[in-house]
Structure formats: C-alpha cells, structure tokens
Symmetry: C2
Subunit: 465 residues, 2 copies
C-alpha cells in the first residue's frame, strides 16, 4: 500500500473516483504494480485517502470492467496479467497530407461548373424551416431503405413527364450521390461483369467502376455514339452510356443506335445498359431528348439520374431506376442496407419538385446557361478560321477542334499563361492515340457573359501567335 | 404529303412545333411512314399547316436530333432506317412489392430503440436556420471528399477526449451511415479478405460484409469476448469486434484480451481489427470504457463511430478513423469518391458538438436510459428464480437467460400473445447450436418507465404458466 502514491485534488473537475482509477491504472501500465499484486481493500484505501468507501468502490469497479484488476471472493482485488501490455508509445507514421492548393484562374472554363448564384436560397430555407416544424419525431426515425415513398413518387412523375422514363416508384432507389449509387448497384449486380465505357468517357463513373474492381473496356464512338459492333466484340456484359448527351463529346445517340444497343442487351440474360442521364435538363434547341429507358421493352436499362448537377453539387441526391430482374435481386438480398439520405433532405427536394420550384429553377438556369452559350458561340465566330465547334446547343460546355496545327498541350499552356484554364479532350480518353485532332473543352456555367467575352478575346489572340 | 394527317390545336399548351414533331414521330414509329420516304419541305409543310416556317424547322430539327429523319443537302428530309424499331409495348413484369406491414406491439422491447422524444428539436432547427443564413454559395459547392475539415476536427477532439482515440482529423472519413462506411472501407481494402465476426453478432455489419462478397467466418466468445485462439485458427485477416460493449451480449473486452487481439493483428502485414464503437456513450456505472484504438501501436485498428445511435437514426452520419497504411491507400486511389453527406448536415452536427449541445444531449439521454434500465432491473428482481440477468449497466438492452426449461421460441410466443415483443438471442447467432440456454434480449430505449413496469408484470405472469 506504500506503493500507491495517490494525491487527490478535491478542487479538480475530475471526480475523485476517476483520479483514483487513473493513478492505479497508470501504476499497472508502467509496471509499478505487478501481476498478482494485491490491492488495498476498499475500506483501507478509503480511510487512507479520506474519501468515502463508495468512491473507492467505483474506482475499483472501473478497473475491473476494463480488466486491469481481478476480484477474488473473500480475498480481495489483484492486479490482472498485464505484463504483456503494449508499450503505449506510438510508432508515428507520417500521414500523407493531400495537396489542396489548386491554382485559381482568372477565367476557368471548367466543364463541371454549376451556377450557384442562381440557387434559390430563400425557397430552400423556407422549405427546410417548414419541414423541421411540421413533422417532429417521425422525421428522425429510420426511413425507407429505398428512400421515402412520397419522394420516389415525385421523382417517378417527373421522370415520366420530363424524360419519358417508364417506371413505378418501387423501381426507384435514392442515394447520397452518384458514386454511392454505383457502389450500391455493384452490390446488387454482384458477380463478375465486364463493363464497356464510351471512349472518351465520363471519368468519375469510369474510375468508380475500376475502384469497385470491375473489368472495364473502352469502346470508341462514331458520330452516333458508342459503336455497337465494337461493343459486341469487346466481350462486355454491361454498356455504360450517356445517350441523351454524350459526355464529353455532346453526341446525341439517334434512335437507330439506341435500338441497336437495346438489341445487343436483349441477346443475353446478363447484359445490361446503364443509362447515365446526368444533364438532360439542359438543351437550348427544341425539347429534351427522351431517355433510352423509355424504349426498353426487355428490362435491360438501369437509369441513373441526379439532383447534384441540376440543383447544387452539395445536395447529395441521386437515384437509379432498376429494371425488374435487378429490383428482385435488390429486394431479396440488399434491401437491408440503410438509406444514405436524411429524410429532411428528401422532403425538401420532394416539395421542391411538387410545388413547382424545381421546374422554375430549371427554366431559370436553362435561360442563364443558354445566354452564356449564345455569347460564347458568338464570340467564337471570330476564330472560325482556326477551329470547328461541336457539342453545342446542350449541356454546359462545348468542344473546339483546332486546325491551326497546335497541339492540345500547347493550347492549354498558352491559355494558362494568360491565367485562363481550358481543358483538353485527351484527359477524357481511355486509349490515347497520337493522331487525334487537338480538341479543347470550354465550360461556361461558372462564367458571366462579360467574362466569356473577355476570355475569348484573349484566347483568340494567344492561340494565333 | 397526303399521308401526313396533322391537326394542330393552337389552343393547346403544347407548342405547335412539338405537335408537328409528335405526329411525324408517331407515323414513323407505327410504320405509316417508311424508310427513305421523303418528308415535305419545310416551306411546303408550313404553308399547308398555316404555321411559320421556323415552327416546322424546329420540329424537323428535333426529329433530326433524335435520329428519326435524315437530311440530305439540296434534296431535303427523309425517314431514317427505323423499321427495326422495338415495339414500344412493354412486357410488363410484376415488380415484387415488399411486405411493409410489420405488426405493431403494445410493448416492444426492441434492442435498437432510440428515444426521439428527447431529441433537441429546437436546437436543431436553430442551428439549421443559422447555417442556411450564414454561408450562402460556399455551402452548396462540392465539399471535401473526406468531409469538411472543421467537422472532422470536432470529431477528432471528441474522440480523443471521450473515447481515448488517438487520431488526427486527416485520418477521419465521414459518410452517410455505417453501411456506407463499410462499402467505402471495402473499396479501400480491395482484394480478398476473410473477416472474422463475433458470434453472436451485430447482424447489420455481418450482412454487409457478406453482401460485399467477403468471406466471413464466425468466432465464438468466452466471457472476455472474441476468442483469439479460435481467431488465429480461423484463417481470418480482419477481426470485426465491438470491444467496449459487445453486441448483443454486452461483454466488455478486458485489457488483456485487447492486447492479445492487437498482438494477433501485428503478426501479419495484412491483418486489421475493425473496432465498431457503436454505443459507447451509454454506460451507467463509472466512466466509458476507452476505445481499443487508443492502445494500437502498430496501426492495425480501423475505428468506426456513428451519430445515428446517439442523435437520431435519420441523421445519416457515421465516420471511420483509418490507420496510416489504409489512409495512404485511400489517398492514392479512392480520394476521388465524393462525400455522401451534405455540408449543411455536417455543419449542424459540427456546431452541435462544438457548442456543447452534443454533450448535454448525451447526458440527458444517458440519464433517461439509466432510469429505464434501473426500473427494468428492479422489476426483474421478482423473476430472479427463473432467470439470470447479464449485459446490464450499459447500452440500451440487457439479456435474460432462463432456467425454467422454456425454449426461446416458447418465451417469444407467450410474450407475443400478450402483445409484447421480445427478442431471442438465437437470431444473433451465426452458428446455431441446440444446447444454448434460452436467452431473451430486452431493449428499453423506446419504452417509458411506466410501460416497462406494466410489461414486466405481464411477462412475469405469462412466463410462469
């Protein structure tokens, strides 16, 4: 008992029992008290420390629960076998700290931009406030794994009306972003699939498929999109396509090619088409191209949609529409997976759709992006001798193919010198080939009309030197 | 041109160009217009329909974009090859509609309950309102893949102080619920691992591992938790454990067993321990048991935590703390995966922690659950002749092992007849064995003290007949 050097601080915020516990634990850890050593009785220690017996009992109970001491009936408390305790010193590893300092440009033609100044903050705040008042406990209970039924209902109506998608709310699964949706889809699919990707490709999905350990294979495009003859030869089971607006080339897959693709899928039971309808909302000429899913008579199309592009990137809300056979698989074996989207967010977006805010927001941003698109096209006219434009009239970027002999690298470097960021098509290619014409992507969602005018003037100059 | 039977409704809400487009598209789809058939010129059709020429042009452009017609320079427009068009009639499959009607009980002793009446609605609403006013555009921009730095900082401080976890914010990855965290972890781990689970087991994690195609193996428990000797023999690379409060038995793994487990992991490079610290917040005697992670000197422990249990199930917010080698893997190959939690939710919970609301909420619910726990223990005293209690003093459920010869099935059925739901331990076993003693789980988080008193009185009666 002489061994125990405990000096209690009654003024401390730490309870007395915890102070006693810490002293004894430290003594055991650093070896000052050894295996089988007997601890003073609670009565003796409480008298010695001038604290109540229950205080000491509480300390001993904690040491018992954590396994530092053992109690033997009628004999008292003993130090447990802890001589093999790890030394608590950490072998410090250097954690790789990621480079976060991405260069900021004066003009950034990012093709992934979203104009956030037009985000309807007031509506969002109002809906959020109303929902938090409305519902109370129900709102914070665990929700439907697929997403709330009312929300899926709203999505289903929207998809039917705006995209020609044929589905019931039961086929829809809501998830926190498109990456998550692909993770869940890979759980549902299970097994081994070879996935064909368009080349050039929407990189995020391609990377996800690889990270999820799928075999992937690039299939090249002609002017109608993915070449189905090449797809057939590739040995792929799943074709990942963006038929309404190929990313990044902007190709709209015509009805014939769609039918060819659907026929390819119908040939084998385990073949599927993933239709990523990531930005169908933005089309500046005529009406939106209907989804491929609407023509699918053999339950082959997995349709993916998202609100992250059309509302805001930080809204982590995407969904998929499963064809019958995969829905059955999901219900059978993956239905236990909890939803990843909070009910509050689901309700906000549900009311955002149902009360017409979504349509108004789309109309507003469509008009905004169209103006920027038109200004960009107008300004680029002055460069028609050195480049051809493609992929215009839809989405939030277009492509410039150069005929002035400069390489993509050269073009990007020249823009960079002027503090302008432009994007090379080769970054989106899976298979690099030397004979491709230099092509630059210009996104306009994040730039004002004035900025677009200024930047193109500079580009027109620096691409000619 | 006689073939075209177009009757335009100028009073319709559908634009004229869209009506023309729809008529022609329908004629092509149902075969009334065949391949290579020439369409009327835009000039002729506009005169015939008495609409402006640009209206017809818009209709033709849409048909062109979707690939129903083709244009030939100087010759005009022709129907494209579409005779192989799929019939648009759907083969309707019956979508399996899930059974949702779960029986409601008068008293439900669910071990997964959370008291939502004590949820701090007003604080939540206040924080949510303040955050939506504060930040504007920044709030809706794409966030850090790991979660916002400020939030991870708050978690790191909390973990250090409350759980003895040793980590920097860089090691923390936030995700929308524990199921998602396991999906992401499986992406980071990659390759083939055999995962050992405690038997009886926390079923959700066990099911996730199986659904993620891992090989799983059950390892039985003694009074100190997972048997490391059996683990060694099992050939597992990863041990999934709940050391601070084994689910569902309530066993606290003593320091010796923890060290044994850490030594097991240190033996091979690819071995890891997953520490699921799902409900360490609730302990009614002494202080919380420190996390295993705090003793890990060889970067072997993957620590999992969640706010879904301690705040509310609908708050989809969990996190993991990665050891150095896995963090490196993540940074190298999975850092591109977008976060699944909205910034708004992250900021709410960050401020909830930083401004002391979380601690207060934990204290409040801990006191609440302790009262219910104490009432339950008190009421069960009258049944000490037919059962033994274990797993008490922590969590939100305890276990009753019966010595009156009744089987679990019998006990559950008898309770059911009285409209009381109790849970059998066999549901949590991976390997069933006939010689296990009948054991019932009683959760008390969702029942009032009054309800507990009433229900136990009924059980005491019906378990004796």
């Amino acid at each position: 008992m002489n061994e125990l050097t405990i000096s209690l601080k009654s003024s401390s915020k730490i309870p007395l029992y915890e102070q006693i516990y810490s002293y004894i634990k430290a003594d055991i850890q650093n070896g000052r008290m050894g295996y089988r050593e007997k601890l003073p009785s609670t009565r003796a220690l409480s008298r010695y420390l001038e604290v109540s017996r229950s205080t000491v009992e509480l300390a001993y109970e904690q040491l018992l629960s954590e396994g530092y001491i053992e109690s033997e009936p009628y004999r008292g408390f003993f130090v447990a076998q802890t001589e093999e305790l790890y030394r608590l010193k950490k072998e410090k590893t250097d954690v790789p700290v990621q480079e976060k300092a991405r260069r900021k440009y004066r003009y950034d033609f990012s093709p992934n931009g979203v104009d956030l100044r037009s985000f309807p903050y007031n509506v969002w705040r109002k809906l959020s406030r109303e929902i938090l008042i409305d519902d109370r406990t129900e709102l914070f209970r665990s929700g439907d794994p697929k997403g709330e039924h009312g929300f899926r209902n709203a999505i289903s109506s929207y998809l039917h009306q705006a995209r020609g998608v044929n589905c019931s709310p039961e086929q829809i699964i809501v998830g926190a972003g498109s990456d998550y949706i692909l993770m869940l889809l890979s759980m549902i699919l299970g097994g081994e699939y070879r996935i064909a990707f368009e080349d050039p490709v929407y990189k995020q999905a391609y990377r996800m498929a690889n990270a999820l350990s799928y075999k992937t294979v690039p299939v090249s495009l002609d002017k109608n999109g993915m070449k189905v003859s090449e797809l057939e030869k590739s040995g792929a089971d799943i074709a990942y396509v963006t038929p309404s607006h190929q990313y990044p080339t902007g190709i709209v897959m015509p009805i014939n090619r769609r039918m060819e693709l659907l026929r390819w899928a119908a040939k084998r039971e385990n073949r599927y088409i993933v239709e990523d309808d990531y930005d169908s909302e933005y089309r500046y000429k005529g009406k939106p191209i209907p989804a491929l899913q609407g023509y699918d008579a053999h339950e082959k199309v997995i349709y993916l949609g998202t609100f992250s592009k059309s509302i805001a990137p930080a809204i982590r809300l995407s969904y998929m529409v499963l064809p019958g056979p995969l829905l059955e698989k999901y219900e059978k074996k993956d239905h236990f997976v909890h939803s990843t989207v909070s009910k509050v967010d689901q309700l906000i977006v549900q009311r955002f759709i149902e009360e017409g805010y979504y349509e108004r927001h789309l109309n507003k941003t469509r008009a905004l992006y169209k103006s920027r698109h038109d200004v960009l096209i107008e300004e680029l006219k002055g460069m028609s001798d050195i480049l051809n434009i493609s992929g215009e009239h839809a989405g939030v970027h277009l492509l410039l193919t150069f005929k002035n002999g400069m390489s993509e690298e050269e073009l990007i470097k020249r823009a960079e010198k002027e503090d302008i960021r432009v994007y090379g098509l080769s970054d989106y290619r899976i298979q690099k080939s030397a004979d491709e014409r230099a092509t630059i992507l210009l996104g306009y969602a994040n730039l004002t009309e004035e900025q677009i005018r200024e930047a193109v003037k500079i580009l027109n100059h620096c691409f000619r030197l």
